[in-house]
């Protein structure tokens, strides 16, 4: 694979102004598919959630899922869109084995929702408005696995295997208008926008919203133009950008790549790019060509959807508290400062903290664990914190053991590592690794005597009133007890021993 030239992000920003655009596909969590009564379930055995409609057999007729339409209207309303009085479906014709019908049933000239906006809050609190062009209903395609040749890559594959379980799963595609004026914050805005859409559909309860399962998928359009020019540059569309971090990285990479192309005097090629998480680069997919002639025409097998104003208002009345309002409420419930709360939101662990509190932890304990322990581990593992697999119940259990004095914070952190390594429950790991706070004062006093004898100058300082020097002695004791002592008790005993009141 050849590597494309890139400019540094800073240099790209000096020379060019980025314009973004996003197509976000949201899989709805209805019980059945968009046009058939086959179940909409993830992860089942291949080709067991299909019937004649999903397989595009001759003579079958699609029938629209009412719940999917209602979910679509709710998404439109949550994105501040207008809801079409009447709209229809269209056939998007293409020949590829992911659709057995040779067309995807979608919406073309009459989307169910249009002309909306979303106010996106960036990490420093700046609010950026993203205009929504449309949100339309369509169906998902089957899943292809390319085999033979270089494994998993379409280039060089000998054949492909197709599972149609996903074919016909209801989708809502949300399309933004071109996003101008983001400047150097474009990558951050990209991530924040997709996060906001995910949060909205999750909050509405219309999608499971798990990006790692493809419930929310993003295609990111990027183009550059010289500062001050109004006309847009030629864009690339990066597909398969399926985590929040990847959205940010992909937009940043494409900006850097476009800038290098433009600097070399070449035109940017309008094409699809594939995102590669391993190298954090994109590679050329296919150029836009006449293969993109989808010959849309109105779907003759489905009748129009008419959304009466009464129906729309009825659905509007069921909308949950919007995410921005929810954030305000949670911050006040949890008693976090603005800075603490913003850090939590930026780290992407607000939902996780809410779940942990619901499982029985206090707000400060939940924050301590997620921000102090888990976010760092996720960063090292290069995944989103929620994907690390820490269960709220684990945190509650660990915290109980710490509060009961059975283990100290350092041991709790070690136990968490054990849980993540799949060694069992916290209680099992404590048992297996023989972790327990030494609470018998006898061995502690011995270790304290030794530590004081080893650092007589420090002992003198403490006696002389410099109590803050005690850390060195406590450290010595902890080392001697291999971290198994209760540091608070050690401190008490040292002060007692030296006859100092602190």
């Amino acid at each position: 694979m050849s590597t494309d030239a890139t400019l540094s992000f800073e240099e790209a920003m000096e020379k060019y102004d980025p314009v973004l655009g996003f197509e976000v596909h949201v899989e709805l969590n209805t019980k059945t598919k968009m046009f058939s009564s086959a179940p909409n379930v993830f992860g089942d055995q291949p080709n067991t959630n299909v019937n004649e409609v999903d397989l595009g057999m001759p003579g079958v007729l699609p029938v629209l899922n009412k719940t999917a339409v209602e979910s679509s209207i709710k998404i439109g309303l949550a994105l501040n869109c207008k809801i079409a009085e009447a709209c229809r479906f269209a056939r998007k014709n293409y020949f590829y084995p992911d659709t057995p019908k040779n067309f995807q049933t979608s919406q073309y000239d009459e989307p169910i929702a249009y002309d909306g906006y979303l106010d996106i809050e960036l990490s420093d609190g700046t609010v950026f408005r993203v205009e929504i062009e449309r949100a339309h209903m369509e169906e998902d395609a089957g899943k292809l696995t390319h085999l033979g040749g270089s494994a998993g890559r379409i280039q060089g594959a000998d054949y492909s295997l197709v599972d149609y379980n996903r074919a016909g799963v209801p989708l809502v595609e949300i399309v933004t208008k071109p996003i101008e004026g983001a400047g150097s914050r474009a990558p951050e805005l990209a991530k924040a926008y997709v996060a906001a859409v995910r949060e909205i559909v999750k909050n509405l309860g219309v999608s499971d919203a798990k990006m790692e399962r493809g419930n929310v998928r993003c295609d990111a359009n990027v183009s550059l133009r010289p500062h001050g020019r109004e006309r847009f540059g030629i864009r690339s569309e990066t597909k398969n950008v399926n985590s929040l971090r990847a959205v940010e990285h992909a937009v940043r990479y494409e900006i850097q790549r476009h800038a290098a192309v433009l600097d070399s005097g070449e035109p940017v090629i309008q094409e699809t790019r594939h995102w590669h998480e391993d190298t954090r680069t994109t590679t050329s997919g296919r150029a836009k060509s006449d293969a993109d002639d989808y010959r849309y025409f109105p779907e003759p097998d489905l009748v129009p959807v008419v959304a009466s104003r009464a129906w729309v208002e009825e659905l509007r009345a069921t909308l949950p508290e919007p995410p921005a309002a929810r954030r305000k409420r949670l911050q006040s419930d949890w008693g976090y400062s603005d800075l603490e709360f913003r850090d939590v939101v930026n780290a992407g662990v607000m939902d996780e903290i809410e779940e942990t509190i619901a499982a029985g932890a206090t707000a400060s304990v939940a924050r301590k664990w997620w921000m102090g322990e888990i976010v760092g581990r996720a960063k090292n593992a290069d995944v989103d914190p929620g994907q690390l697999g820490v269960e709220p119940a684990t945190i509650v259990e660990l915290n109980k053991m710490v509060e009961a004095g059975k283990i100290n914070n350092k041991m709790a952190s070690e136990v968490l590592d054990g849980v993540l390594a799949g060694e069992g429950t916290p209680a099992e790991i404590v048992e297996k690794r023989g972790l327990a706070v030494v609470s018998d004062d006898g061995p502690l006093l011995e270790a304290i005597d030794a530590a004081l004898a080893a650092q007589p100058d420090v002992a003198d300082k403490i006696r002389g009133g410099k109590v803050q020097a005690i850390g060195a002695i406590v450290g010595g004791v902890m080392k001697a007890t291999r971290g198994q002592a209760d540091a608070g008790r050690v401190r008490e005993l040292i002060l007692e021993k030296l006859g100092v009141n602190a």
Binding site: T32, P46, T48, V63, L161, P304
Partner: protein
């Protein structure tokens, strides 16, 4: 004027992954042109007062409740497939698209 020429047919054949000989293209261009012209006569019958429609029956909101119905077994689903492997349809690799 014929609405379909030889280039259009060649373009459509390429989109549909159908290989057509020069002879077939010539013949099909002629036949399709006649068919399209015949269908065109419909638009002559419809005046400006007739709105475009995508459906002949004045119906809307034909919905299905979100209740799970029947499914095929993988065996049934694959029974008409030319080739299969591991409960999935086996298809030739298509290299130029993704």
């Amino acid at each position: 004027m014929a609405a379909i020429n030889r280039d259009d047919v060649a373009h459509l054949a390429r989109l549909a992954h159908i290989e057509m000989s020069a002879e077939e293209l010539d013949r099909m261009a002629g036949e399709l042109a006649v068919i399209v012209d015949a269908v065109k006569s419909v638009s002559e019958a419809a005046g400006d007062d007739v709105p475009a429609t995508s459906h002949p029956i004045p119906l809307s909101n034909v919905f299905r409740e979100d209740v799970v119905g029947h499914v095929f077994t993988a065996e049934q689903a694959l029974s008409g497939a030319p080739d299969s492997d591991s409960d999935r349809f086996k298809v030739p690799a298509i290299l130029d698209e993704a």
